[in-house]
Amino acid sequence: MVFVRLYLWIAPHLLLALCLIGLLRNGRYKKFPIFFTYIVFEEVLFCGLLTIYLPALRPVASLEGYRWVLVIGTVVSAILQLATLYEIANVLILDRWYLARALRPLLRWTVALLILGTAAVSATLSQTGMQRVMNVFEVLNFSSSVINLGLLVALLLFTRALHVAWKSLPAGVVLGFGISSSVEMVASSLISLGKTSYINIDYMRMAAFHACVLVWLVYTFRQERSPQSIDSGIPKPDLEAWNQDLQRMIER
């Protein structure tokens, strides 16, 4: 079990390092600088936590320091995740003024409603049996996951309704965040129910983050797919038929 735990903690960060290399090699870090910064931050946080954790194996009491670093890291990470989503929205939609005009208020209202909803639900998540630092961590984790998830669902539905094309990497980033945030949200809620052991929930969280990093890795190294050309897939008689259909529309 210790091996699985260590694997789920360390392996995703090694894979994240590969993601960083991939982003640097294919130059996509220039287009998504905040996402790149987020990955760098996750790696720095992991190194920091590992440095605190290893000596802490002997005197368990010093885990308090580890947990406070984790809480501060969660706050910074949540801000960077939100900024990454904004970056993706900017690449997809906000540079088209006629869509930006609608999306900006939509995102603003979504965030406002999510903050209100999260504040209400977070109050029910606090557990008396838990240490204060862990309570803070759970509430922060839950809040950031809900806000993240709500924003990315709003963004996905908006772009889906308008058939806005998603490039490979943004889709991968959003899919990864979606998996990780939804599992975090469920995990924080399960902890507050107190019916499942903390260790099992921790495994679930780490497995979700592992899946998220795998998705990012695949999308980082995947070649950008260009849409099918009409010449390759659609015969010329079809073009003529559309032309006639459209001509009819205008003549009516």
């Binding site: 088209r96 006629y98 869509l99 609608a102 209400a120 639900v121 029910t124 998540l125 839950f142 996951s145 809900v146 998830l149 709500g150 990315l152 669902v153 996905l156 539905l157 889906r160 309704a161 308008l162 058939h163 806005v164 094309a165 998603w166 889709a171 959003v174 899919l175 979606g178 998996i179 945030s181 939804s182 599992v183 949200m185 469920v186 809620s189 399960l190 507050s192 129910l193 797919r225 260009s226 849409p227 099918q228 050309s229 009409i230 897939g233 659609i234 010329k236 079809d238 073009l239 003529e240 038929a241 559309w242 032309n243 259909d245 459209l246 001509q247 009819r248 529309m249 205008i250 009516r252």
Partner: protein, 169 residues
């Protein structure tokens, strides 16, 4: 406790939604040739007539209140059908234009880009118009609708024809 269960269910539903929408994105372009055959003509003049403020006022003054409500409901349902049709057509044209955005011929790429922008705009406009039409069925007295959509249809149809002609050459 209820809120906690609600957030667990919401988390699972959100995950399914994310997986579904990203899956749809990856398979969408494969079916562009099928989708293209689904383009449906929109009778722009009939739509203009249905949305015309003067027509509505004429009906309101010449019909009893009950008759006007019934006729107005039928007219708005017909208008909604046209808008749905335009919404779908715009979606097909967005994907169709997307296939030519990286065309080596700059004329085709520019036409495709233009078509995509206008089709997105029309689809967005249709998205905004549909709820107004349905609300107008419930509250016939309110006049929230613009006729810009009909102009949008016309412009988009012209651009689509230009695009298809340029592409076929």
């Amino acid at each position: 406790m209820t809120l906690v269960w609600f957030s667990i269910i919401a988390g699972i539903l959100a995950l399914l939604c994310v997986l579904w929408t990203t899956k749809f994105r990856s398979t969408g372009t494969r079916h562009i040739d099928d989708a293209a055959t689904q383009l449906r003509p929109v009778d722009v003049n009939a739509f203009r007539n249905l949305m015309d403020h003067g027509e509505r006022e004429y009906l309101r003054t010449h019909l009893s209140s009950a008759d006007f409500r019934s006729v107005h409901r039928e007219r708005m349902l017909a208008a909604a059908d046209y808008v749905w049709c335009a919404f779908r057509n715009a979606g097909i044209l967005i994907r169709l234009a997307e296939t030519s955005l990286n065309d080596p011929d700059p004329t085709i790429a520019a036409t495709a880009s233009n078509l995509q922008e206008n089709a997105t705009r029309l689809r967005f406009h249709a998205m905004q118009t549909l709820p107004k039409i349905y609300l107008s069925i419930i509250f016939p007295g309110l006049d929230w609708m613009s006729v810009d959509l009909a102009e949008g249809f016309d412009k988009l149809n012209r651009q689509a024809v230009v695009f298809v002609c340029v592409r076929a050459q």
